[in-house]
């Protein structure tokens, strides 16, 4: 029963992908309905799975050898991320019905989105490192194909390839970790690795731990790989909401949380994780402050919030990080889809050309503001609770100065969130024409997300129970909702944080009287606009590679004599090497 439902969350979307693709682009209506049907069915399966979480392996397909056994395990971490993937996935698909109406090549779009949803479920549910790596790469593949969905736009193509290359670079870390596991433990079973981590030589465990950290950082667009996510915003907006906010980018955090018990003992690992999270949160927050492209602001804020989760894992707060992941997935999907509705109507992504849209799009304004308040960490929305838990975990498990930086970033978050909302929905209208509010399908998708943003924190207690029940290696203690609320409310950290957030809001409100400070921060803003030099670094690497390739091409003269000379010289070199070796 559980096994069947588990497989359904993977194969229902995949089957949908196949059917939508086979239907062909001549019948867009059928494609829309098939996509919605299969994704909603997947979402239902995901919700059903949530109730059936269990620590046991449910599906095992024996392959053996270097591939291990194909096993799936519906434990707490897995089912809950799978549920996010399938449910938010289905909402994104519903949203697409309006958003992608009249687009060409719908089959490719829906097939890839559905394929992604299934792969994401697989990634979080599998108990086998080989499969995990495979699903990991599959999600990267879908992400690439969807970012460059508008293939005629060179920026989209470049963004897609950049995302693919960077996540693959990180993927090598996961690959190395996985094959080392096979090499030393003779298996690619995740639970065996968690169980026997202490038996590994410490240097091997260290390589694995940092390899996984690199993989996670690349996937979650953390420092120093953060540059791909903003460029990924060339994707259609539902894709940004689903893949680049709610699901795939969370895979990095999931990876760290999943393997936390194995690597927590590696010297320096926890600190490294926290520093990565902190730097990402801070730098991305600063970049969000100066960006003018609506989707880019949201992308930077995603990087920043993922930084919070990574920081929490590093500090030992696996539950806090997952809880924040849960909240973030909901409110960020809401924000992105809301932004999608705005962009769909306004026809631009530049916030300087928006302004005063609130009156014309009241529904979108309402839900967007709900999402924004959650992002800013205003009580009593879901973002508030989870962020406070993250901060508290950080205070307990990490250095105080890092906690200070994270607090500062919390204020920064409030500041850029208010700037963004104000620039889009209030302020001077730059758009003369009348804009229509969101369509019916869009509303259908936005409403549940807004509802979730308001109330999802009520699930915190049962979520912690699920984690405790099904994760044998993580040492998580179940706490009830009331306990969590008490903990948050009575912790001094909460009130400090709220103060900082209020300060951030006030900074925005009184921005005109703070001109002097703006001058001071202009320099930082300038550097932030250039992604703190990382964009330059990326381009330098690409340029160098291309230059080397061009130089190498010049060696291929196409002259027969030179070709034969290569043979003669190779013979000489091989003979010399062998003679020296003997």
């Amino acid at each position: 029963m559980t096994a069947g439902i588990l497989l359904l969350t993977i194969f229902l979307p995949w089957a949908g992908a196949l059917f939508v693709w086979l239907v062909g682009n001549d019948r867009p209506r059928l494609q829309h309905s098939l996509a919605v049907g299969f994704s909603v069915a997947g979402g239902v399966a995901g919700l059903a799975l949530l109730a059936l979480g269990s620590p046991d392996e449910m599906v095992v397909l024996s392959i053996g050898g270097a591939f291990g056994n194909f096993s799936f395990r519906p434990d707490g971490l897995g089912v809950f991320l799978a549920t996010i993937a399938t449910v938010i996935g289905s909402l994104a698909v519903i949203f697409s019905v309006d958003y992608m109406r009249h687009e060409a090549q719908l089959g490719r779009y829906y097939a890839l989105v559905l394929f992604f949803i299934g792969s994401m479920s697989g990634l979080v549910l599998t108990g086998n490192l080989f499969l995990m790596f495979a699903f990991w790469e599959m999600t990267a593949l879908c992400s690439y194909a969807l970012i460059s969905f508008y293939n005629d736009d060179p920026k989209a193509v470049a963004g897609g390839i950049k995302a693919l290359v960077m996540t693959q670079l990180g993927g090598i870390g996961l690959l190395i970790g996985a094959i080392l596991s096979y090499s030393y433990l003779g298996t690619v079973e995740i639970n065996v690795l968690l169980d026997k981590a202490e038996l590994l030589p410490s240097n091997v465990l260290g390589i694995m731990a940092f390899g996984f950290l690199i993989a996670a950082a690349a996937k979650s667009a953390q420092f120093p790989f953060q540059t791909w996510l903003p460029d990924a915003m060339e994707a259609p907006t539902p894709v940004s909401a689903l893949i680049h906010a709610a699901t795939m980018v969370n895979a990095g955090v999931y990876l760290l949380a999943r393997f936390y018990p194995a690597f927590a003992g590696v010297p320096g690992w926890q600190e490294a994780v926290m520093v990565v999270g902190m730097l990402s949160a801070l730098l991305a927050g600063l970049m969000a402050l100066v960006a003018t492209d609506l989707k880019r602001v949201l992308a930077y804020s995603t990087v920043s919030q993922l930084g919070y989760m990574v920081y929490a894992v590093g500090a030992g707060g696996v539950f806090a990080s997952q809880f924040h992941l849960f909240s973030h997935a909901i409110f960020k999907a809401l924000l992105f889809l809301g932004a999608g509705a705005v962009i769909h109507s306004a026809g631009t992504r530049d916030m300087r050309e928006m302004g005063g849209l609130g009156k014309q799009m009241p529904f979108v304004r309402t839900v967007f503001v709900i999402g924004a308040l959650a992002l800013a960490g205003i009580p009593v929305l879901n973002g508030f609770w989870s962020k406070e838990l993250v901060l508290e975990a950080g205070l307990q498990g990490g250095a105080t100065w890092m906690f200070g930086v994270m607090l500062f970033t919390a204020g920064l978050t409030a500041l850029y969130t208010f700037r963004c909302v104000w620039m889009v929905f209030w302020g001077e209208p730059h758009h003369p024409a009348h804009l229509h509010d969101a369509g019916p399908a869009m509303k259908t998708a936005l409403a549940p997300l807004a509802f979730g943003t308001l109330f999802s924190w009520l699930l915190a207690g049962s979520f912690s129970h699920l984690l405790e029940k099904t994760l044998p290696y993580h040492d998580i203690h179940a706490v009830s909702l009331v306990e969590i609320l008490e903990e948050v409310i009575f912790a001094p950290a909460t009130w400090i944080a709220l103060g900082v957030v209020a300060l951030g809001v006030l900074t925005w409100v009184f921005r005109d009287s703070l001109r002097l400070w703006q001058e001071v921060f202009a320099g930082i803003g300038q550097t932030a606009r250039q992604s703190f030099g990382f964009e330059w670094l990326n381009q330098a690497v690409v340029r160098t590679t291309i230059q080397v390739a061009e130089d190498l091409r010049n060696l291929h003269t196409g002259v027969l004599n030179w070709n034969v000379l290569a043979i003669a010289l190779t013979l000489l070199v091989v003979v010399v090497i062998l003679a020296l070796g003997a």
Binding site: I63, G64, G65, A66, F67, A104, Q105, R108, F133, A134, F135, E137, M138, A140, L141, Y144, S148, N151, D152, V157, G160, I161, L164, V165, Q168, L169, G171, I172, L175, I176, I179, L180, Y182, S183, Y184, I207, T545, I546, V548, A549, L552, R553, H556, G558, L560, W562, N563, V564, A566, I567, L569, T570, L571, V574, V575, I577, L578, A579, G581, A582
Partner: protein
């Protein structure tokens, strides 16, 4: 069917059929003919006819062990390795034959094409199962000679002639070096039997190393070990697409199998061979990828990517030969098989585009990267097939290339040595680099605005689409069920390990 007779049939059918195909074809040409269909279909029947003995052999070899066929003092022994090569060759050649029906139709020398194709396949099958060192060279040379005209098939084109002359001269230089290596081994061991030689070559010192160097460089020309690869992009890009698929998918790999067999004789002379192959593997991967990065001609790009893919196989085999790790050999063979499928599909799909965009209009212009803009609008299946092939070559799941690369990497880690771990990281980085040229090509095909060439394109024949479909399905299926190929790979791997004295 008796297994020995099956082996004999497997080799005899294509050789005997070859002149018959030529004569039937020639007669119909002389009669101003319409009768070429007979030659075409006869070729296909020959291949299908080879299927039965191959199946018999396959079952026998996998269940009971090697099949010996003694002719004079030369033993043809179909072991796991030979079977593996035979299956790969047979599969790809059959599909190439079907593909060629429309593709080659109406070209001059069509009958020679169909006559040489089975001969080429048979030489490769024979190469895989001979147990005599010199006989190995004979099959190897026969493979080269049968492929010259196929490469120069468009011999009224300047480019084809140029490519063939480079291919021929470099192959010939390589094969002369092999001969010197063989004479060294023969002079010392007084035998040519591959299985009797190894102990006799023990403690041969520099003498054995000299023979090995000659083997590596000599066979290396055909395998396209960088920097001996310079003939490959020329020949692959100028040959008819079916032949490009054969060259890239099985011919260079047959060279690799021949090298493995030859080096097997020297396994006790020195432990250096595996390390040498690992070194060449790293160079191949890097040079192949860098060269492919800036290519504007599609077939040339794919040719350079073959250089890189051979590097991955070398990594697997190198690990197996140095450390006796079974996963290395299995992964190497797995990648060899998958490469035949992936690169076969890539070249055939590009051939389908060439057919639709140029050949049906009587032009033999090369297919440029920019010609593929928006190709998916008009040719969805072919564009999809090419995308699958490219993504699989890039090592992305859930496709065939991913599983075999994984196995090779796992094998590298099993050695538990730091340099090898770096080598794997290097190979992994290169896999990422390879996406830098595969991905843009895919993006181009899915543009909305088709290029002028595509807009003016002709429809693609059904018989061209059929092999594409089969290969695409195979690549996806292997990605989902990596266990399918394991028995065949494992039996080939155990033959290899046995030759290197690990079992």
């Amino acid at each position: 069917m008796d297994a020995g007779r099956a082996l004999l049939l497997l080799l005899l059918i294509p050789f005997a059929a070859s002149p018959v195909i030529y004569l039937t074809g020639r007669l119909s040409v002389l009669r101003q003919g319409t009768g070429l269909w007979l030659a075409r279909w006869f070729t296909l029947i020959v291949y299908l006819g080879m299927g039965l003995p191959l199946y018999t052999l396959g079952r026998y070899v996998l269940e009971l062990g090697p099949v010996d066929l003694k002719i004079g003092r030369i033993v043809l022994q179909m072991d796991g390795l030979g079977l593996f090569l035979a299956v790969t060759v047979w599969l790809l050649s059959t599909l190439v034959t079907i593909f060629s029906f429309p593709y080659i139709r109406g070209e001059e020398d069509e009958e020679k094409y169909y006559a040489l194709l089975p001969a080429l396949s048979a030489t490769m099958i024979g190469l895989g199962c001979t147990r005599d060192l010199f006989n190995l060279w004979v099959w190897f040379e026969a493979m080269a000679i049968t492929s010259y005209l196929l490469v120069a098939f468009y011999h009224h084109q300047k480019g084809a002639l140029e490519a063939t002359v480079k291919y021929l001269v470099q192959s010939a230089v390589g094969s002369i070096m092999i001969l010197h290596g063989i004479s060294l081994v023969f002079a010392r061991t007084m035998t040519l039997d591959l299985q009797e030689i190894p102990p006799l070559m023990a403690d041969s010192g520099l003498f054995g190393l000299a023979a090995g160097a000659l083997f590596v460089v000599g066979f290396g020309v055909k395998i396209a070990l960088a920097p001996l690869h310079t003939w490959l992009p020329d020949a692959h890009s100028r040959a008819p697409s079916g032949i490009s698929a054969m060259l890239s998918g099985v011919v260079i790999e047959s060279g690799l199998v021949a090298l493995l067999r030859a080096l097997g004789t020297l396994s006790q002379a020195s432990p250096a061979w595996g390390a040498l192959l690992l070194g060449f593997g790293a160079i191949n991967i890097l040079i192949g990828n860098l060269m492919a990065l800036r290519q504007e001609e599609v077939k040339r790009m794919l040719a350079y990517s073959s250089v890189a893919q051979v590097g991955y196989m070398l990594l697997g085999f190198g690990v197996a030969m140095s450390y006796g790790i079974a996963d290395g050999a299995e992964g190497g063979f797995y990648h060899l098989f998958n490469h035949a499928l992936m690169k076969g599909l890539a070249f055939l799909a590009v051939g389908a585009f060439l057919y639709a965009l140029y050949i049906t209009k009587g032009s033999h212009a090369p297919l440029m990267v920019s010609d593929l803009d928006g190709a998916s609008k008009k040719y969805p299946l072919t564009a999809f097939a090419l995308s699958i092939a490219l993504l699989a070559l890039g090592g992305l799941p859930p496709l065939a290339g991913f599983v075999s690369k994984w196995q090779i990497f796992v094998a590298g880690a099993e050695v538990r040595s730091t340099p090898l771990l770096w080598l794997i990281i290097f190979a992994g980085l290169n896999s990422v680099l390879s996406l830098g040229y595969y991905a843009p090509l895919i993006n181009r095909m899915y543009r909305n605005q088709p290029s002028e060439v595509v807009q003016a394109g002709q429809p693609i024949a059904v018989l061209i689409s059929l092999p594409l479909l089969i290969l695409t399905l195979a690549i996806v299926a292997i990605g989902f069920f990596p266990g399918w190929m394991v028995p065949l790979n494992a039996s080939a791997a155990s033959s290899l390990l046995m030759a290197f004295g690990f079992r």
